[in-house]
Symmetry: C2
Subunit: 421 residues, 2 copies
């Protein structure tokens, strides 16, 4: 005999800045929260700052000084989320439910002392649990915490995702819902690949690769934390009620699917250092110097050398190109390289999928799809679950469609990667 | 032999919203703070929210609901001062001095739990003292504190003055400077009385009467606290470097001056309840009901009755008139009064001065000045150090000038009320 019991769920929801851009949208979010309460769920809501408030505050700071102390920047920025939580609490009250708002400090989100990109060390959720028990919706300011001296810290761009995931972990929530302006994770960008399909689920690993490939849906650090503690994430739209995409543990299914999605990144530029002396330590020297400038390098390619000299290519985000070239030109002098070239006219096309671990031939199939379209591959880089190719920018969209077709992603079929929620 | 030693002073400064209305003004305030540091003083700065930020935030709240929960209003409003303190700290850094900003919660300003008009119960200034010792300028968000549950509270309109005075008390500051957009306390409003004179000093008692008469320079509660703990206050302009007015303990001087100033208040309306049954408890009943509506009544006049019925007049702030009339109309029914009249065309002219305690004839001289100008007095009310007359609104400015002349306030002479700083 099976006895079915309806259990009260605990849901953590996170709403980004675009979901709470004005008071009308805040009221709509309140309506969504109230639906869950009416359904009997306990709800903890994490909110970002209204629209582009954070950028506005930063602009004020830079009106005053080129070098604002980071502690004071955190003090300033943290006000953005505090405004959101208070207004959302009011909107929920207005709809007849009890709600209470908290800053990061008030709910004991303790971080290390690294201002503007602090890490969460501990959450003392006592007050949240108390207020949930009283039947209240608990609303927590995202993106912020407090160090051991009670100074306000912030968690870096996308930090509200981290607040949500960390709270879901501490409170042992049944699910962590990330509300955004897209309605889930797709096999490709639907604006580029018209028959792209929304994925019902992806694994943490795939989502991590997607985040690093420039898909702006969720902050990579948050996905890492969710993976570490096995917290089911539901990425969905705050403008519709349709199901989004579940992110969870990879579960082997009967039939394997090699690839989950194709992504295109046009935000990078290629830098090539010519005629680099091929001796131990030179590459380390180069990338150390670049790292010191806090420039993130993505792909790195160095061919075997037969002449004692080699060309070294890598990609960086276009925004960092100027600074990169300044550093590289110094390095060229120091190591006695031949010169430097750069190319902004590139794109990176990637396939991601946990299935490729157990499937050979994924790379071959991708390269073949590009070859059929007469698209030349300039750089290749692979991870266990990802293959990326740098090609001409103008060919990127066509490449994505060809690869999407080659892996038959537009066709609905059984998935390898289902998610255990 | 006199040995003179330069002692390091501790100065608490408070800047209102108009002094920090934009980033340029914040930089100017920073310049002023730095002058004090350069001079060797320790400085604690209390700041209000930028310009009309607080009103803007309240507007947002009322876009969402007509009845925002007060706890959430406090959460919302407190962000205004947090923005100011962070920006001011940045501006001081920019000028080469170390500064650190704090919220009310962070410096342990503990209040009772009455949201939107909390009272300070305790200040634990440990962190402030530490940072002062490190040579930093300490910047504290005005107007806010935290209750025992760590919920954010606010201290009501003008609450930043209270923060400053309470910090000056706790830290045993040498002086508490209140920066505003006027450069001190005058014998009358210079826009009305051209030969009005800035007072070098006034007593707490006089300042209290002035605050209650509608002079918006400083919040009355803060003056009460300053008086209770004998904290010297310096009211001055943030736009000039001239000395303002010292507020302190009354010190008897050789020659007494009866009156310190003349004030005009055009913000009140008169309400008259006609033919009120003259029996015990009726007045109590009336003013209890009005009090329950949180309407503040100023002057109350009731004449002796010979007929068993009397007229009862009182004044309220014009903003409260509508609500007052609604309540009074009910009361008229309940107590069986004859009806209600109201008059918005009045003004209250007052003289204030601790000197009148020891001087008879002040009232007579004031009434005579009005009589000479053919100005009819409609209501009179007196306290130990204040006499107020209600007259026609159109005659108010002429009345103020006549009274100012009658007490020879425009002429510079010895003052009774000097202040011990």
């Amino acid at each position: 005999m099976v006895v079915s019991m309806k259990r009260q769920r605990l849901v953590v929801q996170k709403y980004g800045g675009s979901s709470v851009a004005d008071t009308q949208r805040i009221q709509r979010v309140a309506g969504r929260v109230v639906r869950y309460k009416r359904h009997g769920d306990d709800v903890v809501v994490v909110v970002s700052a209204l629209g582009d408030t954070t950028d506005e505050l930063i602009r004020l700071a830079y009106e005053i000084t080129d070098l604002p102390p980071e502690r004071e920047l955190d003090m300033l920025m943290a006000t953005g989320e505090q405004v959101s939580v208070a207004l959302l609490a009011m909107a929920i009250h207005q709809q007849g439910y009890e709600a209470i708002s908290f800053t990061g400090a008030q709910v004991g989100i303790v971080t290390d002392g690294v201002h503007t990109k602090a890490r969460i060390v501990d959450i003392n959720a006592k007050r949240i649990v108390e207020e949930l028990r009283r039947g209240k919706v608990v609303i927590v300011a995202g993106f912020q915490g407090v160090n051991l001296q009670q100074d306000i810290t912030t968690l870096g761009r996308g930090g509200s995702d981290l607040t949500a995931v960390a709270l879901a972990k501490t409170l042992r929530a049944d699910v962590c819902e990330i509300y955004t302006d897209v309605d889930g994770i797709y096999t490709a960008d639907p604006r580029i690949v018209p028959n792209a399909r929304k994925l019902p689920s992806v694994s943490y690993e795939e989502m991590l690769e997607m985040a690093s490939l420039g898909s702006q849906v969720m902050q990579a650090r948050s996905i890492e934390v969710a993976k570490k503690f096995d917290i089911p994430i539901h990425v969905r739209s705050s403008f519709t009620h349709t199901e989004g995409t579940m992110i969870g543990k990879e579960v082997k299914a009967m039939e394997a699917m090699q690839v989950s999605g194709v992504s295109v990144n046009k935000q990078e530029a290629k830098v090539t250092i010519l005629n680099v002396p091929d001796r131990p330590g030179v590459a380390a020297q180069i990338f150390n110097r670049i790292g010191l400038e806090e420039i993130n390098v993505d792909m790195i390619i160095q061919n075997v050398s037969h002449t004692g000299r080699t060309d070294l290519s890598f990609t960086v985000v276009k925004d960092d190109l100027k600074r990169t070239l300044r550093v590289v030109e110094q390095i060229v002098q120091e190591v006695g390289a031949g010169g430097v070239m750069h190319d902004e006219d590139i794109a990176k096309v990637s396939v991601v999928g946990v299935g490729m671990r157990s499937h050979s031939g994924v790379a071959a199939r991708m390269f073949q799809a590009l070859a059929k379209e007469n698209i030349n591959i300039e750089m290749i880089s692979t991870s266990e679950i990802k293959i990326s190719c740098v090609i001409r920018r103008a060919q990127a969209d066509r490449a994505a469609r060809a690869i999407h077709d080659a892996f038959r992603l537009g066709v609905k079929r059984a998935r390898t990667t289902t998610v255990k929620a």
